[in-house]
Symmetry: C2
Subunit: 425 residues, 2 copies
């Protein structure tokens, strides 16, 4: 079926007015695919294959061990860190790239616990991405801490009551399932008012919105390299430590790359003076340098421009859903589409994704994939569609909405092949 008469020209005019539309040409995507899973694995920047080939053939294969100096492999974690810092409001010298988000969370949790002696409570959102919860559980056991769960809107009241016990508050800027964006400024201020540290997980915000870490006084932050930063599968994560805290931070993973003088090979650990103390072992350089190269796709784009495009895409998608009559808002009586909007309609409360619930969410996702619209499923009933502002157009958004309409209208998601669950989704 075609679109209502005015949606196609509206998409075209939004794209024509898009100041960062040209960024799409920086990426390689399969012809005809509408890729709405950049919040799970970002697309390939077109220049990265050659950059990786250079790392492999020339730097590794030809220059070999000398590359640590001649190609400054040693500086890659901080170079990439500073490049990430430009996207999250961190001045140079406060971010390093390396290890996974999970490992970086462990470092931060253990470090933060020691910075507020006498306080034995940590606060987190029970809807956090599971690894955040798992690692916090382990770290808190190590430190003898109590983990208290609170949804972000309930955190200020909790801090009013128990703030004097709280060492740190660990939250995600954007909920990975619902796409709801929380108020980093207000929650950080409330955390600080209680004398606690604010730790933010930026996995679903870095690369799609301004974060303003320095300006907001955030203490510690982590984030993912392979989602909106487009660093490639499993790209190393990043960790931010506010400059004033760095000298007091102890990294429990005291590997030699975090040492003040690693090539002295001394017997005692002496942490590097700055954020480089958050480094651990030799980083996976092919993946790390792929990420560093990928970050060039952001050259010349401000976080504000990227955010405006992101909101335009998600806003237009919700508009399409409305116009196409795809959203149920009445009673759950089985008479409607079964599709409900989870992500807030208010732009300020929205990340760069639109999450929808549907009783057959898994099958809907698979039926969309069969139509060339790639999103993902999150248990138990969420259709999660990520809108990466650098390589998606409003025309893509309309295509996705029409595909969703056609899947539901045609009952395509009820085919047996789509209802069977694959191992990884």
């Amino acid at each position: 079926m075609s679109a209502p008469d005015d949606l196609t020209p509206r998409a075209a005019s939004l794209d024509a007015a898009d100041p960062i539309a040209a960024a799409r040409s920086r990426f390689t995507l399969p012809e005809g695919l509408v890729y709405l899973d950049g919040n799970s694995l970002g697309a390939l920047p077109s220049h990265v294959p050659d950059a990786v080939a250079d790392v492999v053939r020339r730097q590794w294969g030809h220059d070999l061990i000398a590359s640590w100096n001649t190609h400054d492999w040693w500086g890659a974690q901080t170079r990439a860190g500073d490049a990430v810092g430009r996207l999250v409001g961190a001045a140079p010298g406060q971010v390093v790239v390396g290890d996974s988000t999970s490992v970086n969370l462990y470092k931060c949790y253990r470090a933060a616990a020691r910075l507020r002696p006498g306080r034995r409570v940590v606060v987190t959102d029970p809807a956090s991405f599971p690894t955040d919860l798992y690692v916090l559980e382990s770290a808190s056991r190590d430190d003898g801490f109590e983990v208290v769960h609170a949804s972000p809107p309930d955190v200020p009241a909790l801090l009013e009551e128990r703030g004097h016990e709280v060492a740190f508050v660990s939250l995600s800027q954007v909920d990975y399932r619902t796409g709801e964006r929380w108020d980093v400024a207000g929650l950080t201020a409330a955390t600080h008012a209680a004398g606690a540290l604010a730790l933010w997980d930026l996995c679903h915000s870095a690369g799609v919105m301004p974060v303003d870490l320095d300006a907001l006084g955030v203490d510690l932050a982590v984030g993912c390299g392979y989602k909106y930063l487009n660093g490639g599968p499993g790209a190393p994560a990043f960790v931010y430590v506010r400059r004033d805290l760095q000298a007091d931070v102890r990294n429990p993973l005291s590997g030699w790359h975090g040492h003040a003088a690693p090539f002295d090979f001394g017997p005692e650990y002496a942490p590097a003076p700055g954020v480089t103390r958050m480094r651990v072992g030799t980083p996976p350089l092919i993946s790390l340098l792929a990420l560093e190269s990928a970050l060039e796709a952001f050259d010349g784009l401000s976080p504000e421009q990227v955010r405006a495009k992101s909101l335009s895409l998600t806003g237009f998608f919700v508009e399409c859903l409305d116009r196409l009559g795809l959203l149920d808002d009445g009673p759950d009586d089985g008479a409607g589409t079964g599709l409900r909007l989870v992500t807030p309609r208010e732009p300020d409360r929205r990340g760069s994704q639109v999450a929808l619930t549907h009783p057959d969410a898994y099958a809907v996702v698979r039926a969309l994939v069969a139509r060339g619209v790639v999103g993902d499923f999150r248990t138990p009933d969420v259709v999660r569609l990520g809108f990466a502002p650098l390589y998606l157009s409003h025309a893509d958004v309309l295509t996705a909405a029409l595909a969703l309409r056609d899947v539901l209208a045609g009952g395509e998601h009820l085919r047996q092949e789509f209802l069977e669950r694959a191992r990884v989704t």
Copy 2:
């Protein structure tokens, strides 16, 4: 200068009789270079650039998120782990690849500490690679353990005396500086006799000798992916957990990839049943798959064949040094070459490197590099030459020995440019 008359034909006859000489053709090395630093960064297997390009262009760029299933990215850590297992005597299901050696050491130390409740002492070699010492210091602080230092030959006597207090003994199979190879069988048996766990660092042995982890009952082991396994710069490391221990091992870094059912996104951590519980976060797949591909360079070669070649290379190098009169064995009166052999002459006690001390060791290394012979310097006075059995010939060994002779005879190492220390060596 040329070689003594018989060394050139002797190198040629050793190479002619080398049953794994053809493995050299599996690697790409710069023309004319004698690369004796494979114990710091292994050479590039020739098929790896295409494998990496496929990961980047097709798997990431084209197949995108579906690659987790279609290319079984999810299984990469255990697939590569099993491939490493074949080189270190571990049956499948006991090794995973991921994270750095430092991070894996932390997991093992923390896990081992909990497996021997009531015991509060750990034993390690003060000559261990520094990261082993640094991470053990941190982990032991977390667990309230006392770290006792003992050189491997002194460990059995220490265990006689204090063995009932010892939770685990952590040693390296090969000393990273001296190249001395320790008796894994005897030391593991002595450790077990004391009721303690044996943890081995295989960074300088995996890929150059049989290790026999299963046969010797080693409990935990870690090792490096980028040295003799040739996995590329900063390739992920590996960790081995003996099958019988796996159910009782707690990974302090309880990330979602170690969860029994990661895609249920449940709020509680439940460790995977086997060694996969040692996984943490999403692994750096480009680097990881490069390593997996690189391991194919070992296809058809047994660890015993590789060890025989390794000993032949290092033995021939020492023979050349002797024949060329390069080794001092008299008093340190300044009359000799200043070069002393640190690595044991007995084959059983030798890793795959030859370490030499020299008062100007750093400058000697640089002068050798200028002659196309790449080794490395280890503080304070060690010239460290690694002999990777898969891509070096006895002719290379002779070339290196002659270069060393010429450097010392010509005083080439005394040039100012070589005496100045670079940042990373």
